[in-house]
Symmetry: D2
Subunit: 483 residues, 4 copies
């Protein structure tokens, strides 16, 4: 809401020991993963080799009415996807899961992440007569798997052979006539884990919170580079491409993931509390109350309060009813969007020195308005603490960061200047060093490219994904040979 | 969600100094009051004596699309209403505001509360040829006003003359061709306040949080028994029926109202924090963490933690996307409703002695499932503290309490028995005495009839509102003379 | 479609010998009566005295989804209504059936027609404290019945007592706890008939085509002035107010009713064929083909062809898919509305002398465009024959005629001038005398006020219904005493 | 409605001399072609090489709301499609136009017809790594064009090279970055024509009625085997594959096409009148009235009446409001579907000897019910005449004929037996010889395979399209190698 950082997807897959209304579990899981993508969603169900799917633009409840859910029928394997797309392009052909047919039968694919070499892959297939229906990199992954499948004796082998050609971030689930396959790129930029229900169903999910929702206990995370194959013979792991500890996007801990998820062995909620505690140590300030900006700043605020000994309090109430159908008023100055969505609990703020915690500052405009609400409510001082370092660089691995000319941390040279712009008495960000200590127990390292500009793999000289999509939608600028 | 206590309505009115898109402000206000009624809503706009209205079943965003909102056009007075109805009867004729025409012109009425003598009033008008379109008591209020209006020189005078005939709870806003009128019953069972925007618009609202949303500063509460008339000459107060401090429903502080509202001079959030603190004093227990059941138990949990010195923590994450369109799965035991909506943050619970705070226990079944989630997550002990006394009696003034045979506090004789049923190691309720101290600074006394069975005014021998509605919908049991 | 003459309503009622899904029959009947009103519709069902109803703006399929139809449940009596309203005022409070409660129980009312003294009645009740919810004259009928009911021993007696106060057109069905009552004003301006199914259900309907649809055989028409009461004792007739042969609106035969209906004993289709035959005798012309403007001109065209011996042919194809949701293009001259809806069968027109029949000309603009289509298709001559006399006067009895300044027959002095404006080689209207001979076997006389300005009862000096509605919606111009 | 013969598609394309709201013209055209496919539809727009499209299941007004139509924006080329699919498979991936990207840019394709070798083509591409998204044969056409495009210097040349590989029926429009291309298979099974508007826009359409709707004058039909290319240089024709007069599906004249269309030079309406006249000559019978079953039997009835001298009359009124949202009642015997949709004009039938004309008999059940309506209305004799020969064989070229076990003409050996089953006094079909004389002036011959079992090209031994779709949706029965 107050943040234009966006995760780009969530994936889920389930393999039931016997035929059931398997789509219902995926439906529940997509609700639990909805925070990872709110633009479109879909479910594909496998009933003895026959695939049925439904997908559309909108939230899970918009796309899946009772009718649509029932239409998916029964089956024993299913996968689902929630999606946020960077461009206006709500092209229905890009909505996942991608469900296709090839020489060896049906295949469905759901992907979280972003390839850096999607364009090269695409071109190579097109030069061989390949046809693409959408503009997403997911179709490139499908082509790589399908073409390798011709000479491999199984889909998992085709995936293994394809992986070296796929550069970038991909946490995927694939469904074939008889198997559910999960694989994660060697850096493990995006999370992926799996678990088991009491009935013996195996579930693969972007986050463990969706496992909890369907009553599955987490087994472990899919390792960076690992391929997990689930079929009637059980679970098989292929670690050929597992080479390092990987580099999980640090923003999964700071903002994207749900606090009740455990990612690569570390609790997200604890990571956020720790971010608050590190901030309290790095940038202490004397004050009367510590508040968080709902919802993403609340955990860090509690961590800051516990570490500093300054009381934790509720600063804002967020209106839970304002959703997609809210009609923005345009009539009057007095009705600004922030005021409608957030209201200050004045009794907690009036005459107080306030420490306000948020997870990030992107453009700074919303932030300035929130600070103003505190001033109006009578705050004596407002000190802002941000539980992440300043954003300065693009992400190539599936996070939609605003363009650099809009980022407040790129526009101004010093934290003091930014503090002035947003109207706070003091401002401090979390240090880059501390971000590496957030997930104490995590098995993976972190990617901090958006803060440092240093990326774990080579990135294109050009801009990331959205520019690519723009290009390929316009025939004339993409290829020399026109028709 | 986990509670079948229900407020029955929220009202809002605005008088603008000049013609504008006045419905937009009411629309915003209804969003801020949505928690008071989620079943239906409506807005009526006055453009120089011509009334336009739109109402329907559903939440504000369901009923008010861009089209419908625009259709309301401009005007300088408007009123709105959100409604929860006790019976299945989502009779569209009961949706408010009630917009009628009588000999002196148009009149619109929005009502929060419940009359105890609605049936008597109705009968007296019917014996004179009166026609009723719905089954709500609001139509009885309208008839009283309209019939008194014949012999009064103004609507506010008609209201004053009508009030002695209206027994029970009513916080109302009325719109005529030229005036906005607000009045509150002499007990002030339901809240009502008014404020002013920087542009000079006067707003009347069930709660102050809606004033904040439209940028109005609160002036004060409408007093129990007071009639406030707003027209082009300003604000006029008539206190003829103001006789006592009144008896505000104590559940407004405990559960119904939004924490950011100030009611009769007292902060709701503070009242809830205080409830937690009183609990900590009355029923201390040694433990490792204090958690609240979201959202209504969070404030009291923080109050308990602060008072007891036991750390406050986050116990549950609530899924914010599950709304009206969620399709309940029916397939499998493992997918229960509570698990889908709430997930435990296991790292905070495992191996801990937990104090869990909620605002009330109605039937106890949901409560037992939540406790079970904590047990599954590895809680060593679970101590429940409830920030209200046990419910034992019906409410006649606009709260929908479950029938007595369903109330856990009626079914079992002791707190210990209840503790056993819901599976906690210890259980304690807030004392009735403490409920009177929650809103320290409040100008009104409280009604605690649902805890004590002692009501501030005489109540019918029969059951409350819902039974009445059932009766009048069935011709044959209501009147002897059949047709 | 090409005509702004509008019927204002259709009514239907059914009394089943035993409880059943009675709403389904009404639903079917409303489909059969849909041509009489396309703006809103509703059904009320009586289940042993408990009334359930649903109504809304739109066509029958828009308002009655499966859900809504099922919600109406079972019962043994039901009534329904389709409505067209003259003003923009799609006020939901005006949608019928009107379902109310009074001292003797529930009552539902559906009305086709228009009172000329609705305002006087309204005022008299308002002076006694009466409340009105909508602006329609139907509420005035309800008040008359309810107030008389206080001193009458049955509803049918109350209706009998009320009828002398009701001036104008009203064909009504009324449902009480135990009875279905139908009554028709003493002039019988609008049709009303009743029939019986093989199972013994009695149905009352505006037109006999709806009886056919539900499998009922027509018994006879309700006589002008007659009250028919149906209850468990059978059918009872009261003819106290039957005084004359009545004056059925002649446009029922010419345009409004469905050709397969029998009204007051005469076949509508035959009446239209006869109109064509009279035209052929009154205004013969030599030509190669006779065509009708679909759909309302087709029967008269066949009648003309048969009488004249000139071959009948198909001149136009009408696009059946263009409905309410059609989006009118605004881009280009070449896409005009008439061309989209009607297409000429060129092979039938090219090089021919064409006689084109339509039922009426209102403004003449659409007519001119249709003639132009024939010219473009190569018609050598176009002779238009209209199966009604020219409109020149308002209707006070439920037909929505355009205002006089728009009527082509008021704007021009001679038929020759009109012929020039619409671009035909010759033009002739049916004579007023012939309209009285259309329904040869009919038991009622005709009202031809819209052609002659002579009305069977006294009419108000002011304009009809729509002006009235406009007035009462604006408080300030209706009453002197303002509030 | 009373017929389960189905056309499978309609196509339309437009090339505007300059950028405009080109989608609006396609929208209008699809309304005019809606009778050719009512299951799904779509439009693709080309704005300087950028393709935008929208498609969905449902009628044109269901799929194209104002919003969706506006979303398509401006452009100078656009194509559209309406579709009926034979299988339950309303697979959204099969909805056309197919919009894809390949090495030479964007390409959109709309297809009417059915390939007999789609499966072979599909297999050959899959063996090369090809991916298919749907189950329709249209994707096979796209692959053939795209793969040939790699070695051709233009799309039209690629189409020319592809055509010998495409066996069966295909009338297609293709849109590239700069061109609109139309092509028709060498047999010309399905119609395709083109025309020009006054503004210079070139339009291609399945039927000329859509040209009329958008204000375009027909230039001529696309010849069987011809490729027409439209770009900024004008219209270019390639007749390389034009070999014969072709074999247009005779059912286009008898039933599918709109009567106001001209196909291959012959008027559809005249063809139907001639069918009636031939019937009158071949199978005369003495009677009082000739009626048609609406709408498809009306023209032939008029032709029969004119030829026989027996008066033409209106026998049935069809309810125009019954559409997709109609809820079929299930309660009672008396409410059968036929009675709801058709009502007899009893005055025209009672005591008469009736000749009833319809265009075909498929299963005979609906037919029997219609005959029964006439009997109930008092018909003395009912003689049925059918304006086509009996169906006995499957169609492989895009018509959905019922399976042979359901066809009444396959179930019974003689016309007399069929007459008995449907309850008529006499029955006669049109002779196969006469079907070849219907379109007197037509430039193409006819395919009468469904009557004779003799097809113009070799047909598969297996069943047609629907069986194919069923197969490929089930992985395991399609390919030996499973995954």
């Amino acid at each position: 809401m107050f943040n234009n950082l966006h995760e780009e997807c969530g994936v889920f897959g389930i393999f039931e020991p016997k035929t059931s209304y398997v789509a219902q579990s995926v439906y529940l899981a997509l609700y639990a993963l909805q925070h990872r993508g709110q633009e479109s969603c879909g479910i594909a169900v496998n009933d003895d080799g026959v695939f049925t799917h439904h997908k559309g633009n909108g939230l899970v409840p918009d796309v899946f009415t009772q009718d649509k859910l029932e239409h998916l029928g029964m089956g024993n394997i299913a996968i689902g996807h929630v999606r946020y797309s960077t461009t206006g392009g709500k092209n229905i052909n890009n909505v996942q899961p991608l469900v296709i047919r090839h020489i060896k039968g049906n295949l469905a694919l759901a992907h979280n992440g972003n390839l850096v070499n999607a364009m090269e892959i695409r071109k190579s297939f097109e030069l061989n007569g390949g046809i693409f229906h959408g503009t997403s990199d997911t179709e490139s992954i499908a082509y790589e798997i399908v073409s390798n499948r011709l000479s491999c004796k199984s889909t998992e082998e085709a995936i293994k052979k394809a992986m070296p050609n796929l550069k970038g971030a991909y946490s995927c689930v694939v469904m074939t006539a008889t198997k559910l396959i999960a694989f994660r790129d060697p850096n493990g930029f995006r999370p992926l884990c799996f678990g088991k229900t009491a009935d013996g169903a195996i579930c693969v999910s972007s986050e463990s919170c969706a496992l909890d929702t369907v009553g599955a206990k987490i087994i472990r995370d899919v390792l960076p580079g690992e391929i997990i194959t689930i079929d009637s013979n059980g679970i098989h792991s292929d670690k050929t491409h597992c080479k390092s500890n990987g580099n999980l996007c640090v923003f999964e801990y700071i903002y994207f993931a749900r606090p009740d998820s455990i990612i690569d062995g570390a609790s997200v909620e604890h990571a956020r509390m720790r971010a608050g505690a590190f901030l309290a140590k790095e940038s202490p300030v004397d004050a009367d109350i510590v508040i968080g900006v709902p919802d993403s700043g609340l955990d860090a605020a509690l961590g800051y309060a516990n570490e500093s000994g300054i009381p934790y309090g509720i600063g804002f109430i967020k209106n839970r009813y304002i959703g997609r159908s809210f009609i923005q008023p345009n009539q009057s100055q007095r009705e600004d969007a922030v005021r409608i969505k957030l209201n200050v609990i004045k009794e907690n703020i009036k005459g107080k020195r306030v420490i306000m915690i948020d997870d990030s500052i992107v453009r700074g405009t919303t932030c300035a308005r929130i600070v103003n609400l505190l001033r109006e409510a009578g705050a004596k001082e407002v000190h802002m603490r941000v539980s992440s370092p300043p954003f300065k660089h693009p992400c190539y691995f599936g996070t939609d960061v605003d363009s650099q000319e809009n980022l407040i941390a790129c526009k101004y040279n010093s934290v003091e200047e930014i503090a002035k712009v947003i109207g706070v008495d003091s401002l401090a960000y979390l240090s880059v060093e501390s971000t590496h200590k957030l997930a104490e127990s995590a098995s993976t390292h972190c990617c901090d490219g958006c803060f440092t500009g240093k990326y774990p793999i080579e990135v294109p000289k050009e801009q990331p994904k959205d520019k690519f999509e723009e290009k390929i939608s316009k025939t004339s600028s993409y290829y020399q040979v026109l028709d």
